[in-house]
Amino acid sequence: MTLNDDEGRERLEIELLLEAIHRRHGYDFRGYAPASLRRRLWHRVYGEGLETLSGLQERILHEPGCMDRLLRDLSINVTAMFRDPTFYVALRERVFPLLRTHPFIRVWQAGCSTGEEIYSLAIALREEGLLERTRIYATDINNAALERAGSGAFPLERMQRYTENYLRAGGTEAFSSYYTADGESARFDPALGRSVVLAQHNLVTDGSFNEFHLIVCRNVMIYFGSALQEEVLQLFGDSMTRFGILALGRKESIRRSRHAEEYEPLDEAEKIFRRRL
């Protein structure tokens, strides 16, 4: 395999840009998976009306608002309420019975983005009678995303699709009973949000802050390179109670990780694992 000049120059520009972001703004994207990172960086280059990655670097260093816009591109993961409905069926059938044995339940939703999955989780917990004694700590690298998550409002136009997901996810109520239409938004029952604590947390640079019975981190680590994934799995291990449960995205695996032996599968297809001790 050989790479041509354009390719070599682009790699250098990306390296320099990530170094500049890290040193100037403290965000460390150097361990991110290169292919999706490259796409997202170019998306911002075009979004700024620029033509090169070096041009983006200049703007990052000289214009304060540019970093916020790039952070949004790099950190907001597109998601949906009850994405992968069978995951929520597995939560109800395999995970909640284990959580039920605890008088008080701590859940960490790591990389909660704009909050769709927090509300999905809260609804499932409420329908199983567990929400009252659960606290969901929802964290994200991006404050703007957290603000949107905290508003508890999602676009009304998506509710039809979310209702279908909800029904396939084993929902037992009328989905529409959880929100009220407010203009173009569906505003969710504030009671759902009362069990949620939102906080900024960077999985790459911040440490453990509590011990959780359940950690949910779905389709977040796919944006990380293998070495960074190992570090985050270490962080999760350090942030769990005995026999804590880890839920990843459907196409993520810990099989190739050095932490693989620390877990046993609770649900192989849904990538839900339980710590061996």
Binding site: L3, N4, D6, S36, V78, R250
Partner: protein, 194 residues
């Protein structure tokens, strides 16, 4: 001519039958990895990989994040994820659909071009949209081998025709020729190495 290391294939309308015929001639010791993005409805988890697996000597599976690439490995993009190629492995993303598609063929082919340069082969098969046209141009620009299914032989001609428009230098092949050409390209690799 450098060794080929990864073959990235995109297909849409009519893609299942086309993919079966492309993969069928590949021998169990095919020396490159094969990655596939096929447009489809969400929800048919694993079914595409199983169907293809039954039709060829290679083992076909649905890709997991960071799964290793190597000779004879065949990975299919999972529904509702983009599949990207990195040096030595694949990665997934749930970024917005590209060309209304997730997986997007442009995303797959562009990333294969970026990761493997002239060690990448890009193939655009039958389909009724223009996804893959940009990715195939990238394969060519990075020195890789661009191949397009002959639009006249495709179930839907729009997608291969769009790819030809951006990449006029692409080799235009009938479906049954593609597998044979891949085997030849693979054999060149063996000679380069020995």
């Amino acid at each position: 001519m450098t060794a080929i290391e990864v073959v990235a294939i995109g297909a849409s309308w009519g893609g299942l039958r086309a993919l079966e015929r492309v993969l069928e001639p590949l021998p169990a010791d095919f020396p490159a990895a094969v990655v596939i993005a096929q447009h489809r409805r969400i929800g048919a988890d694993g079914a595409l990989a199983e169907l293809l697996d039954a039709h060829c000597e290679l083992t076909v599976c649905e890709a997991e994040d960071k799964q290793a690439l190597g000779p004879g490995v065949v990975l299919v993009a999972p529904p509702d994820y983009h599949l990207l190629v990195e040096p030595g492995a694949v990665a997934l993303s749930v970024d917005e659909p590209v060309n209304f598609s997730r997986p997007s063929i442009d995303v797959l082919l562009s990333s294969a071009a970026d990761a493997y340069g002239d060690g990448a082969v890009g193939i655009v098969l039958t389909g009724a949209n223009a996804d893959g046209a940009e990715g195939l141009a990238r394969i060519a620009a990075r020195g890789g081998v661009p191949i397009v299914q002959d639009p006249d032989s495709a179930e839907r001609r729009e997608m291969p025709a769009a790819a030809l428009a951006t990449t006029p230098a692409a080799r235009v092949l009938a479906l049954d020729e593609i597998g044979r050409v891949l085997v030849e390209l693979g054999a060149m690799r063996e000679r380069t190495q020995s």
